[in-house]
Symmetry: C2
Subunit: 235 residues, 2 copies
Amino acid sequence: MLLPMVTMISGNTLAHVAALIGDVARANILSALMDGRALTAGELAWHAGVSAPTTSGHLAKLTEAELIAVEKQGRHRYYRLASAEVAQALEALMAVAAQGPRRHRPVGPRDEALRAARVCYDHLAGRLGIALADGLCLRGHVILADGAGAITVEGRRFLRDFGIDLADGPPSARPLCRTCLDWSERRPHLAGRLGAALYTRCVDLGWLERVKDSRAVRVTAKGRDGLAQTFDITL
Amino acid sequence: MLLPMVTMISGNTLAHVAALIGDVARANILSALMDGRALTAGELAWHAGVSAPTTSGHLAKLTEAELIAVEKQGRHRYYRLASAEVAQALEALMAVAAQGPRRHRPVGPRDEALRAARVCYDHLAGRLGIALADGLCLRGHVILADGAGAITVEGRRFLRDFGIDLADGPPSARPLCRTCLDWSERRPHLAGRLGAALYTRCVDLGWLERVKDSRAVRVTAKGRDGLAQTFDITL
DNA sequence: CCAACGCTTCGGTCGCCGCCGAAACGTTGC
DNA sequence: GCAACGTTTCGGCGGCGACCGAAGCGTTGG
């Protein structure tokens, strides 16, 4: 049989990366790490639903492929996603999975919480993430033209008043403001350094709280007021 | 053992989609379809490097999961990617694969052609795609701020002169102008309806030609002149 | 109408990989 | 130093799924 020669190289690497994500245990591990924090091997074993030895094997494979990175700290080992690109790929896959044919998923209460507000790597997603993006867009603070975005001059001033100065920090190669396709809302929300700063600031202000063992985010009473006053968001 | 309950649902669907891409034969099939055209089962079998029966099974699975779509035509069956989201997910995975540890890939001449200019679903990628995006950005026809993009008023006029009217066609939900992370250049190139229109127009003008059995694109002599005059691109 | 062709279905084989328990390793703390 | 703990390594088991050849189905063209 005639072989397609060089084409196979890209297919091989593509398959290798996808196959790593394509195991239920490993997918659960990566999903758990999508909240941007670093978790221990034990915590990840719990999330994956398999034994510690099995988890260890999975973590070794993911680390070797540089999908995740590890940091030793005492007798714990903290694992985190290796890069924002990995998070983006995972989110893109979830978007495909969400639009696919109804795979039997009885929408539980936990699922509803995720759709309301959740963390996507280091920024907000779900209905709250969309509302934030819409609010900033409506006031002309950012320009979201057809899935792409940029910060205006007034936006920069507004953000500074809100307590976010995007000029500080090391000059990073990371995009200042980019969008990310929301898998539950099917619309773009704010990502990049702006998205991360917005989320961090809301947490610092006590407006948002993480839900334990989940990517879901809860809006506090103070947060309800603050979001309404600052961003015109009513939940 | 305590089970993480509902969290597993998302992990399950994520793993299912990723596992479909995570087979070498299927990855080759999807890679081949990344050129945006619809190919027959036989052609895909050749690209996949496996027998016709095996390919048929793969195609059935991919179709059922709605990663690809099929169209019957006589005794042929034409398969294509089901949506732009699928293409985006594939591109994101390739970006991850490209930045990972050097997986033994001896850069062949075919590979070099892909890095120079290739089709990414329905728009241009590679050095040529980057150069086009940079050119339009430099002249202020589009604004590419940190990986995000929008078309300016002058840009719209310029594109109309070039033969692209983005107002025509049915009002589509597809983004007009978005960016796509280039896996070989590690920088954003133009995607969305603008990216597609630019590629189509260049082909119509006879500036670009597809390379047989590859996603690579060749610049014609006429194209070299045209690209230089219109976009200030020197290859 | 029959032969050629493209594609799918069926049946059986084989190899890879996920899984766990037991044991080893390294760190912490008493 | 020793016990407790978190994590990894080892060995062996089991099952899923990719693969092919042969046969079946539908279409095309003479």
